[in-house]
Symmetry: C3
Subunit: 305 residues, 3 copies
């Protein structure tokens, strides 16, 4: 495993984080084995959200923590709040209630990182600031970040906070690469040029906010993975070719594509299988050439102007 130092924090995080969304689907034994496999391969960040499995993912994780009390100090636990059934809620009341419930489920007295999961259009930013202040004061949360937000959403929230937001978690991979498409297609009369991310990638680089990439292997929330997907034959062929060259799986090449970007992106891998996790971890040991990175991007069917 390799690690990043996260600006504006004392965190040193593994390049891959384990996404715990689907932990709820596992038995206690399976979950424990997955978590220990992650630890064995050097992963030290575990990414949760209050809503994953309706809380059950945090609950199982908390049970593993309880049984293995030395684990807590070795790892970085991150969770998220702000999504309710049918709407988003970044009110002070909801943030505090959500964190307290997460702490209880996780069997821990602190979170290393809390992210606002989705932007609530009705956010009163002074309420968020107040909630964060309380949580920090009570030593319940060490660092804060956001998820699925663009530049100005970070800007306006940051304006109300005394400490810097450290993460923004976004859907990103070689297929879902809007933030790259925008960069290449500036001032072109096509759909790739369309600004849908508020220049988020360059914004985060300028402001030392670390991107976490969610769903590194998914086309979209509804369309599933692009691995072996018939719409992405050329991409899959390239992933295989390059995987063969480096002795890693196509999925690991897809993860390596994200890691190749100089923005130092952390990849949240959500597999529930220890064997798959072991394969993906190999992505950190290779570095794609610039040509390979572009070849993969272009093999999706995108073009350079």
């Amino acid at each position: 495993m390799k690690y990043y130092e996260i600006p504006n924090s004392n965190l040193i995080v593994s390049k891959l984080a384990l996404g715990c969304m689907r932990l709820a689907e596992l038995s206690f034994e399976e979950a424990e084995k997955l978590i220990y496999t992650a630890r064995e391969w050097g992963i030290n960040v575990f990414d949760h959200a209050d809503i994953y499995g309706n809380g059950k993912s945090e609950t199982i994780f908390g049970e593993v923590l309880k049984k293995n009390p030395t684990l807590r100090k070795q790892i970085i636990i991150q969770t998220k709040c702000g999504i309710k059934e049918g709407y988003y809620d970044s009110s002070e009341e909801h943030i505090l209630a959500s964190v307290n419930a997460s702490l209880e489920r996780l069997n821990t007295d602190y979170l290393d990182v809390l992210l606002i999961h989705r932007p609530d259009a009705l956010t009163d930013f002074s309420e968020v600031a107040k909630a964060f202040k309380i949580l920090r004061g009570e030593k319940k949360v060490k660092f804060f970040g956001v998820s699925n937000m663009n530049s100005i959403q970070i800007e306006i929230l940051q304006k109300h906070l005394p400490n810097k937001l450290i993460f923004n978690q976004l859907h990103f991979n070689v297929v879902h690469s809007l933030m790259i498409d925008e960069i290449f297609n500036v001032n072109i009369a096509n759909d790739y040029a369309v600004n849908r991310t508020g220049d988020i990638l360059d914004y985060m680089r300028i402001n030392d906010i670390t991107m976490q990439a969610w769903s590194p292997l998914q086309i979209s929330l509804t369309k599933g993975t692009y691995l072996d997907h018939p719409d992405y034959l050329k991409l899959n062929q390239k992933l295989h070719e390059i995987g063969t060259k480096y002795g890693i799986s196509p999925a690991a090449v897809a993860v390596a594509w994200i890691l190749r970007h100089p923005a130092q992106i952390q990849v949240v891998v959500g597999t529930t299988k220890p064997a798959s996790l072991r394969e993906l971890v190999k992505a950190v040991d290779i570095e794609l050439t610039k040509e390979e990175w572009y070849d993969l991007y272009l093999s999706v069917g995108k073009k350079l102007p």
Copy 2:
């Protein structure tokens, strides 16, 4: 009625403004009655433009002012300039000529607020600054703002001005909600994610510029109102339901939807009927719950990611 204090000014404005575009369609008596109804219900802002009714809307308003000389001091008169037949013009010459003509039509020697109506792509910003300086020096205009502009258009104009722009008037309502759609759909490969407003809502909150919402009940300039429109059955059902709960009309609920936003948006209502105005004013006395606000938004057919 309830009121907002407008940052960077000494203005205290009613949450609703009377939009005077269609005053030109009224007789003197009808116009006078409408204006007095507005006053009676606490509305103190009257929104004009040099082009409304080809100047006739300002003329009728000016006649009412002339007949009721005590009225002028009690109210805030705002007008706009910058649209000519076939093009936009923010030249010094046009701004000065337009304001002088508006003052004459309105039978007043000052405007409380002047807005640039639309962005003229050929604007020489130092000319705008010069025109504003002259108008302020001659005590013809107290405060300045813009309309239909995005963040950077405000930024570049503001850079040339000694005083802060206080308003930006934009089309906004539960159906025409591009600036909300953008917030929710960051980094999604759909049309709702498309940046068409330059993040204007968050930008105005950061910079203490007050938004005025025009056409709070219209889909677009050509498609008419969404009230009782067959394409918006579910929305209208919700508007009725919530209206029944609070004892106000569906139209008033639609206005309340805008007022619910924490950005402190002033709503410009353009009705010409005193009875309709009385109904709409009731919007200021209720506050939608967060769930109701989201329910209305989603009932238009939009989705949260």
Copy 3:
């Protein structure tokens, strides 16, 4: 000819630059004649790129320079680097190698201006800064700029540089006018409102970066010119009408349309024919009225809201 002073430099440039992309198609004699025609009409900027004609355009230009040694001091030579076969590359290694090869081909020991041709998504900006520092230290390049970049791409690169970027070269004309369409259509639910340039035009005005317009007569890289194009009958009719009024060609009117903008845009004309060049140069001697500028824009089929 008329000239612009370029902010943050000591350059005084002609309003038209000669685009040398197609010099590779000419014989030595033709190229020499074209260059001398440009000089005769006051053009002092010659725009190259390492990839034009696979280097042959620079080579021919270098041969003309060699034969006419007094020419070098009278002119401003600009070239670009960063595009490789199949991908973009703004690495230190590639920038240095490309500039050295360009200098050799051009038979000169310095470039007045170097532009990064396209944004490389994998750019390590500290490498660009290092390359620029070396090139300036060795007196190989006097000033730096970019091409086809939006606001934040300039922002992040600029953040790493001690001196200001002076140019951004972009495709712009009355047909390909995304950066104008965006200005007019803020907050409208149509495709013209879509932000595809990162508000680049206003950004450059705010930051004193001069725009160079490439392909002033082309619809797009693949669709050819709009002059006499059947899809643009009304535009061509207007170009003729206005050309007749001022005694210049329709093409010159199209160039004058760009020059009319107050941002002080330099137009890169890429003709290879001395006679055409002479016609285009006449654009600098007229100034379209505001009405004519808007009429031309609207004659493309675009609308003002």
